[in-house]
């Protein structure tokens, strides 16, 4: 297929990991991978970052010094002046006089929400598509994968833009838009995994015994495919957080800017770059930290599951 061969191959190689585990139950694999992870410094850093991110999001009301929506110091804002760090406002305020630190803290909620929900949708829908393609094979497989290829032919962000334009300017549209960009990845992943296991000995054995196809798929093939899915899901979470920010930055996403979102904060800060550049950097750094945490975790997961043991 002329399309995205590299992406395809990368996903397929991840899927091939699953077939190396034929016969093993998914649980024991995760246990040994877990042990290896605990020793890996990158994994630990990633896990710590992710934990911080999640905790901040959950305990935002307790951690934030002020209400993120109130225009406390709006009166002091001028076209070329925004109050900086002072008593009660550790990081200063934004262009509408709202406390920056509180907005950053609450912003984690949006990012976490969007990241998690869109990835879950992407995983579930993608796996469903992949299951259909891989499970039925033949013509169904060809048609479905053609469709997936078409989806893949539009670069990620552009695809997200098209979807969110249809769905309007709200939170759900961003979530679904990002999910749509994830679907092809997980579809290919699962299909690849199923295909590589189709000729595996244990599958042939089960079929020769007359075991139903559905049972084979759900009891054997699926659990073996879980590890690459988990790895990819972690990495996709990181991408989702970044893409959500990018979409907000471009002006898509909830029109109501009351609920702070890092990408939107970044977009708002554009105009005041010369006056208060920190307003652009704070949300950027938060995005980087959150995405980095998931990426490190995902990468070390991938290494932990890689039979080659090579760094």
């Amino acid at each position: 297929m002329a399309l995205s061969t590299a992406k395809r191959e990368r996903i397929d190689s991840l899927a091939a990991l699953a077939s190396g585990r034929t016969g093993e139950i998914g649980v024991s694999l995760t246990k040994s991978a877990f042990r290896r992870l605990r020793r890996n410094p990158i994994a630990i850093i990633g896990a710590v970052l992710v934990a911080i991110f999640i905790l901040v999001a959950i305990f935002a009301p307790l951690l934030a010094p002020k209400d993120p929506r109130i225009f406390y110091l709006l009166g002091e804002v001028r076209p070329n002046f925004i109050p900086g760090s002072r008593e009660g406002y550790p990081l200063g305020v934004d262009r509408l006089g709202r406390d920056e630190l509180s907005r950053l803290i609450y912003g984690s909620r949006q990012s976490l929400l969007i990241g998690v929900v869109s990835t879950i949708i992407g995983v579930v829908a993608g796996m469903a598509v992949g299951l259909i393609a891989g499970g039925f094979g033949g013509k169904v497989d060809t048609v479905v994968m053609r469709f997936v290829d078409i989806l893949l032919s539009i670069p990620g962000l552009l695809m997200a833009i098209t979807v969110s334009l249809i769905l309007g300017f709200n939170l759900y549209s961003i979530m679904i838009a990002i999910a749509v960009t994830q679907i092809p990845i997980f579809a290919r992943l699962l299909r690849g995994s199923m295909l590589s296991q189709r000729d595996a000995d244990f599958v042939l054995a089960a079929r020769s015994l007359g075991v139903q196809r559905r049972k084979i798929v759900f009891s054997h093939v699926l659990p073996n495919s879980l590890s690459p899915v988990i790895v990819q899901a972690t990495l996709s979470l990181a991408t989702a957080i970044i893409e959500a920010a990018a979409l907000s930055f471009l002006g898509l996403g909830p029109a109501d800017r009351g609920n702070p979102e890092w990408g939107a904060m970044l977009a708002d800060a554009q105009d005041f770059l010369t006056v208060r550049p920190e307003l652009a950097f704070y949300p950027c750094i938060c995005i980087v930290i959150a995405a980095l945490g998931f990426t490190l975790l995902g990468e070390s997961l991938r290494e932990a599951l890689d039979p080659k043991f090579r760094r």
């Binding site: 399309l3 995205s4 962000l157 552009l158 098209t162 990181a238």
Partner: protein, 334 residues
């Protein structure tokens, strides 16, 4: 070899077909309907009714799609609601800028990334190796707009070393026969215009190219590490060949295979990233125009631009696939 190319080209057709269907449906799925979308938000109900009639939007979907395809083939993608000019005109006027930017970014990523990845792999376990791994992990995670801001702020605004916006200094009035500013300067012998355009490419190019750089370093390193352990490298050593010969003909030649396939993938990243980078740097390319179109709800432009960009992406991937066949003889037989 030719059959290989032809076969790949043929596989292109259903994709293009699917894309056109997708975007056709998209326009009609927009809130308010296609007529309103094409006319803009301030359209009156009468105008909408008139356009609906004149565009034949009340006809059956099949008929409409037929007309859509017909217009596509004639290169008619509608008219921009912002500027009133044909979408295709807007696209081809701005596309050279984006090409310059993406080429600059890719060149940066490849020229720096491949040697770096190679060295990291050869000095496996050393400082360079660990540093490269860390840096490339970071590089993949950092959002493009962050880098764009960072570079612009530090190097253009604060330090003033390089220009931070636009494609060319407004004071320079260059002639642009091709639309590729750097090239144009060389062609018309206005070398300072060329140089100036080049300077304008540096910061956005670096920002856009950082993520591909990180990916290329990572893949090159992994690939070289794999190849170095292959049996044929050992055979080459046993023949007593010079180190440079082994490096060139045996290690790199094989290690470059996975790297070249990612380059096709990078194009997608680069096109997406261009939207963000061009916005931050006020660089007049396709990307920044898309940003404007989003803000102005210029749906005709969005539909047209995204379709064209998707086609570009598909074609680039095709090119990469074909050239992979040139690099790896094992693939050709298929």
């Amino acid at each position: 070899m030719l059959r290989f190319i032809v076969r790949r080209l043929l596989q292109l057709i259903p994709i293009l077909f699917g894309l056109s269907v997708l975007l056709f449906v998209w326009l009609r799925a927009l809130p308010g309907g296609p007529a309103r979308a094409l006319l803009g938000e301030r359209a009156t109900p009468e105008a909408i009714a008139a356009v609906t009639e004149s565009l034949g939007l009340n006809d059956s979907l099949f008929v409409q799609y037929g007309r859509f395809l017909q217009r596509l083939v004639q290169f008619n993608l509608g008219v921009s609601t912002q500027t009133g000019r044909p979408v295709t005109t807007e696209f081809f006027e701005r596309f050279p800028g984006t090409i310059e930017l993406t080429v600059a970014a890719l060149a940066f990523a490849v020229v720096v990334g491949i040697p770096l990845g190679y060295l990291a792999a050869r000095r496996h376990g050393g400082i360079l190796d660990s540093a490269s791994v860390m840096a490339s992990l970071l590089g993949v995670t950092v959002p493009v707009f962050f880098l764009a801001y960072l570079f612009r702020f530090v190097f253009a605004v604060e330090l003033g070393w390089l220009p931070g916006s636009g494609r060319q200094d407004v004071r320079i009035d260059g002639t642009h026969p091709t639309g590729f500013y750097v090239l144009d300067g060389l062609l018309t012998r206005e070398f300072d215009a060329s140089w100036d355009a080049l300077q304008h490419l540096i910061l956005p190019g670096l920002a856009l190219g950082t993520i591909p750089l990180a990916i290329i370093v990572r893949i090159t390193r992994a690939s070289v590490l794999d190849v170095v352990n292959e049996d044929f490298v050992r055979t080459a050593e046993s023949k007593g060949l010079a180190t440079s010969t082994i490096r060139r003909r045996h290690i790199l030649r094989n290690a470059m295979l996975p790297v070249s396939t990612t380059i096709g993938l990078q194009t997608g990243l680069l096109l997406s990233g261009a939207v963000l980078t061009e916005t931050v740097f006020a660089f007049q390319g396709v990307g920044s125009f898309i940003k404007d179109a989003i803000q102005q709800r210029d749906y005709a432009v969005l539909q047209g631009f995204i379709l064209l960009l998707a086609i570009v992406f598909v074609l680039v991937n095709l090119l990469v696939d074909v050239s992979y066949g040139l690099l790896d003889p094992r693939v050709r037989v298929r």
